[in-house]
C-alpha cells in the first residue's frame, strides 16, 4: 500500500503584519490620542519589491518603525522573517534607510559605513571589503574620506543606502529614499533597487515618487488614515482603477487620424490626448546633453 507523503513547504514571509494597531498618546494631564494604524494586515514576500504608498500621516513611517522595533504596536502582531523585531537577532537581516538620514558629522563616509558594519557584527577584512563595495555601489567613490558634514543632501541619501547595505541584509527598508535627491540621483536609486531585486533581496519601499514605485515594485499597498485601502500587484491595481480603455498616439497628426478612423468605424471617442514626455525625462535628457556638450 503506497503512502502519499505531502510536504508542506511553509514559506517564511519577510514581513507579516496581523491586525496591527497603533495609538499614539501625548500629554500627561490632557491626554490626546491619534490612531496611526487600524488593524493593518500585510505580507511582504521574500524577494519582492513592495511599495508602501499613502499621503502624509497615513501610517507608512509608523508601520516601518514597528517593523524595526523603534515604535511598539498597541495591539496586533509584527513578524520579520518569522521573528519579533524586538529580538535584536531578527533585526540582523534588515538594512534601514531612514527618511532624510543624518549621521555623525565628524565622521567620514567610510568611517560611518564601517561603524555601522561593526554594529551588525562585521569585522576585519570582511568589513573592509564590504565597505569599499557598498561605497562603490552607491557612487560615493572619491568622497568616502570627506567628513559627512560636507556632504550634500543627495550624498547623505547615498550614504544612508551604503550603511544599510554594508552587512548584506536580506530585507532593505527604504523610507523616502529619493527625498531631496535630484532626478538623476532618483533614477540611480531606482536602478539600485532593481539591482537589489536581481540579487534576490526583499525591498520595502516607502516613497512619494510614484513613477519610481510604478517602475520597480512588484506589489503595492496604499494606506490612508491608518487603513489599507488597496493592495495587489501593480498590474491588478492599475487595471482596477482604469476607467476607460485608451490609446496613446505619438503625435497630434496621428491622434487626429486615429479619431477619424474610430468615428468611421462607429466607435464613440469622448477625448483624445497626444503623447507627452514627462518633465523628469525632459530634465534628464537636457542635463545629459549639457554634460555631453561639456565633455566635447
Amino acid at each position: 500500500m503506497g503512502m502519499l507523503v505531502v510536504n508542506y513547504c511553509i514559506m517564511e514571509q519577510a514581513i507579516t503584519l496581523r491586525k496591527l494597531r497603533k495609538v499614539f498618546r501625548s500629554g500627561s494631564v490632557r491626554v490626546t490620542t491619534v490612531q496611526a494604524l487600524e488593524g493593518l494586515n500585510l505580507e511582504v514576500r521574500p524577494g519582492e519589491v513592495f511599495g508602501l504608498l499613502g499621503p502624509n500621516g497615513s501610517g507608512k513611517s509608523t508601520t516601518i518603525k514597528i517593523c524595526l522595533d523603534l515604535v511598539r504596536p498597541t495591539s496586533g502582531d509584527c513578524l520579520v522573517f518569522g521573528g519579533k523585531p524586538s529580538n535584536p537577532e531578527s533585526r540582523r537581516r534588515i538594512g534601514y534607510v531612514p527618511e532624510a538620514p543624518f549621521f555623525y558629522g565628524y565622521l567620514s563616509g567610510e568611517a560611518l559605513v564601517q561603524s555601522m558594519g561593526r554594529f551588525s557584527g562585521l569585522t576585519g577584512a570582511d568589513l573592509e571589503k564590504r565597505t569599499s563595495e557598498v561605497i562603490a555601489t552607491v557612487g560615493l567613490n572619491g568622497a568616502e574620506g570627506r567628513p559627512i558634514r560636507t556632504y550634500s543632501k543627495g550624498m547623505l541619501q547615498r550614504l544612508g543606502l551604503a550603511q544599510a547595505l554594508v552587512h548584506d541584509p536580506d530585507l532593505i527598508i527604504l523610507d523616502e529614499p529619493t527625498a531631496g535627491v535630484d532626478p538623476i540621483g532618483a533614477r540611480e536609486i531606482t536602478e539600485l533597487i532593481r539591482l537589489l531585486k536581481s540579487k534576490g533581496k526583499t525591498v520595502l519601499l516607502c516613497s512619494h515618487l510614484l513613477s519610481q514605485v510604478e517602475s520597480v515594485c512588484d506589489r503595492v499597498a496604499i494606506l490612508h488614515r491608518g487603513r489599507m485601502i488597496a493592495e495587489g500587484t501593480m498590474d491588478s491595481l492599475l487595471q482596477r482603477t482604469a476607467h476607460r480603455p485608451s490609446l496613446v498616439y505619438k503625435s497630434q497628426q496621428d491622434l487626429d487620424e486615429g479619431r477619424r478612423l474610430a468615428e468611421k468605424a462607429g466607435i464613440s471617442v469622448s477625448d483624445g490626448v497626444g503623447y507627452e514626455r514627462s518633465l523628469e525625462e525632459v530634465f534628464i535628457d537636457l542635463v545629459r546633453e549639457g554634460a555631453e556638450e561639456a565633455v566635447l
Binding site: R72, P88, R91, M116, S120, G121
Partner: protein, 265 residues
C-alpha cells in the same frame, strides 16, 4: 561579547562627541583657568595657608564645573541623538536600547574622568611648585604637601563617584523627558536636592505623622546623599563609597533603561 562590542562602539562615538563639543572645551578651560588663577588670589585665603587655599579652590573647580559638565553633556548628547535621528539606524540594527543607553552613559563619563584627572594633575603641579617656592613659610613644610596631595586626589576620586551617580540620574530623567531644557533643569534640581538629603533623613527620624514620615523616607532614600562624596573623612572607606555610588547608579540606570525601552522613537 557582541553586546559589549556594541556598548563599546556607542561609548566611543559619545566620547568623540564630548571631546569635540564646545561645552566640554569651555568649561574645561574655565576650570583650568580658575585653578591657575588661584596663585593670584591668595590675598583672599581667609586665614588658611596659601597652598591649602589653592587646594580648596582646585577641588571646588572640579566639583562645580564637573557637575555642570555631567548634567549638560548627558542631556545634550542624549537629545541630540533623538532630535537628529542618528539613533534610528543604530537601533534598527542588532543593538538593544540598554546597550545604547549604557554606552551613552559610559561615553559621557569617560571624558569627565579625563577632566577630573587633568585638573588634579594641574593642581598637583601648582601645589608642588608653590610649596617649593614657599620654603620660608612656617605653614608649609615637606610634611604638609603629601598630605594635601592625598587629600586632593581622594577628593577627586569621591567627586568622580558623585559624577557617575549624577550622570545616571540625568539619563533616568532624559529617558522619559521630551525636552533638553526640562532634563537639564531636573538634573540640576536633583543635584541640589541630593545635597539636602540629610535634612530629609532628620525629618524622617523626627516625623510625627505617617504621611510626613513617608514623604521624608522617600526623599531620604530615593536620592543619594551627595555629602558623602563632598566631605570624605580623613580616613575614607573607599569600598563603602564605591558600593554606595554603584548601587545608586545601577538603580537609576535600570530606571533609565526601563523608560527608554518604552519610548517611541
Amino acid at each position: 561579547m557582541k553586546g559589549l562590542r556594541a556598548l563599546w562602539l556607542i561609548a566611543r562615538h559619545t566620547w568623540v562627541e564630548v571631546v569635540l563639543s564646545r561645552v566640554f572645551s569651555i568649561f574645561g578651560l574655565l576650570a583650568a583657568a580658575l585653578v591657575c588663577a588661584s596663585i593670584f588670589l591668595t590675598n583672599f585665603h581667609f586665614g588658611s595657608a596659601e597652598v591649602r587655599f589653592i587646594n580648596d579652590l582646585g577641588q571646588g573647580a572640579i566639583s562645580l564645573f564637573g557637575s555642570i559638565l555631567v548634567v549638560t553633556l548627558a542631556a545634550q548628547l542624549f537629545f541630540r541623538e533623538i532630535e537628529q535621528r542618528t539613533v534610528l539606524p543604530i537601533l534598527a540594527r542588532p543593538v538593544t536600547r540598554s546597550q545604547f543607553l549604557l554606552g551613552k552613559f559610559l561615553g559621557t563619563l569617560a571624558p569627565i574622568l579625563v577632566f577630573v584627572l587633568g585638573i588634579l594633575i594641574l593642581l598637583t603641579l601648582l601645589l608642588w611648585w608653590r610649596s617649593s617656592s614657599l620654603e620660608q613659610d612656617p605653614s608649609v613644610n615637606k610634611a604638609v604637601l603629601p598630605l594635601l596631595l592625598a587629600e586632593a586626589w581622594t577628593s577627586g576620586f569621591f567627586q568622580m563617584l558623585k559624577f557617575a551617580v549624577l550622570g545616571s540620574m540625568v539619563f533616568a530623567v532624559a529617558s522619559f523627558s521630551q525636552s533638553f531644557s526640562y532634563t537639564v533643569s531636573m538634573g540640576f534640581a536633583l543635584f541640589f536636592a541630593s545635597h539636602l538629603v540629610h535634612l530629609a533623613i532628620d525629618f524622617y527620624r523626627e516625623g510625627e505623622n505617617l504621611f510626613s514620615q513617608g514623604l521624608a523616607f522617600f526623599f531620604a532614600y530615593a536620592l543619594p546623599d551627595f555629602r558623602i562624596f563632598n566631605e570624605p573623612p580623613a580616613d575614607p572607606d573607599f569600598l563603602k563609597a564605591i558600593l554606595y555610588a554603584s548601587t545608586y547608579s545601577l538603580i537609576y540606570l535600570f530606571v533609565a533603561t526601563r523608560f527608554f525601552q518604552r519610548r517611541e522613537l
